[in-house]
Symmetry: C2
């Protein structure tokens, strides 16, 4: 009985990691769709999101069943207690990738982003995808120091996001209102993706026995 | 012992409702700050958010302690299991109100919004605040039918949000890029506030014994 239980806990952790990996892959593809006007990539992100949604429902159900049937304690209780908010974060990361893919698909074959912000977006995407990868890693490794570092890694995103707005607002923008608004929202989707990865880091610290570090209220 | 336990569960529910009420009050004040260029209201929203953040940490701790010490079952287990994601939603609602307040404060004494979108924002605010109030009510009442209706009430927000973008993009906009970008982001903050209220409705349905209804992936 206990062996089955420990297998289930390990499986829950593996599923959280897998979902996080799926969200990261979605963001990678959405960026490909956005920067290369790649319609196939965009359509795949939109299609694949159903898997994340289905997995969310499944894993939440399993976490609740573990809690109800096994009366876990200590570290295992912390893991199960944290699963639901982590799943919500991961699902949101996937949804943000879908938003990006949908804009790329809607504008196809046109390039959504003007040349002068494309580099900034490539950088934001790199930071977002790295943060997603690192969130997945710390979910699996429970390395608390690495989990705490996610917060610092997000500083790069904040700089890039601010920089994007200075291009949009302060410099001479020649691409009209519609493109400016779309560019701003796209930037926000990358920035929020990174925030959710940081939030997963916070939850992993709690899983490992730490207090929940305060969330940064500036996002 | 069990009496203390039931009192704690009731208190947890009351605290969730109270936090939701605080987020709703913050949104009301942030809207006052935005639409009336009311700097005192903006500053109060920013200042008061610390209370929501502190309460989040406190209530999460209490929920975990209840789970660890009381081994709750059935409806009480569902309540405690749902508390953490609900708290995350409520905290986010408060943070979105802070975003709005900060923009109002930064631009003060200037009006942020041009006259032709102010009516739309008043409507979005009304829908958002109503959804927040209803989320609080269903948290307290556990009225599952009312909880399910939150999703339909959000349709009005989606229409307003689309309408805002049609004003920004399709019509003759004379207020420049910077105001357009700010207006779009402000619109998104209201729309996301409403989404989190809907998400609380989903969680209440789960608390009451229902399955978690699928989240709308379009947000």
């Amino acid at each position: 009985m206990r062996t089955v239980y420990h297998k289930q806990i390990a499986e829950l952790t593996a599923q959280l990691g897998e979902m996080c990996g799926m969200a990261g892959a979605a963001m990678k593809r959405a960026t490909q769709a956005l920067l290369e006007a790649d319609i196939a990539a965009a359509e795949q992100v939109i299609r694949d999101h159903e898997q994340i949604v289905a997995m969310r429902a499944q894993v939440e159900k399993e976490a609740f069943a573990l809690l109800a049937l096994q009366q876990p304690v200590a570290g295992e209780l912390r893991t199960i207690f944290s699963a639901t908010p982590i799943i919500a974060d991961v699902e949101r990361m996937g949804a943000l990738a879908v938003h990006i893919a949908k804009i790329a698909a809607r504008e196809h074959p046109k390039q959504v982003l003007p040349a002068e912000v494309r580099g900034c977006f490539a950088d934001m995407a790199r930071v977002a995808i790295t943060l997603g990868d690192n969130a997945k890693q710390v979910l699996m490794s429970r390395d608390l120091q690495q989990a705490a570092r996610l917060h610092e890694q997000d500083d790069a995103m904040d700089d890039l996001y601010r920089n994007l707005f200075s291009v949009l607002i302060d410099q001479e923008w020649k691409h009209g209102i519609s493109v400016a608004v779309e560019t701003a929202l796209l930037g926000r989707f990358y920035e929020r993706f990174a925030d959710h990865a940081v939030e997963i880091g916070r939850r992993v610290i709690f899983m490992g026995g730490g207090a929940l570090p305060a969330e940064d209220v500036n996002h």
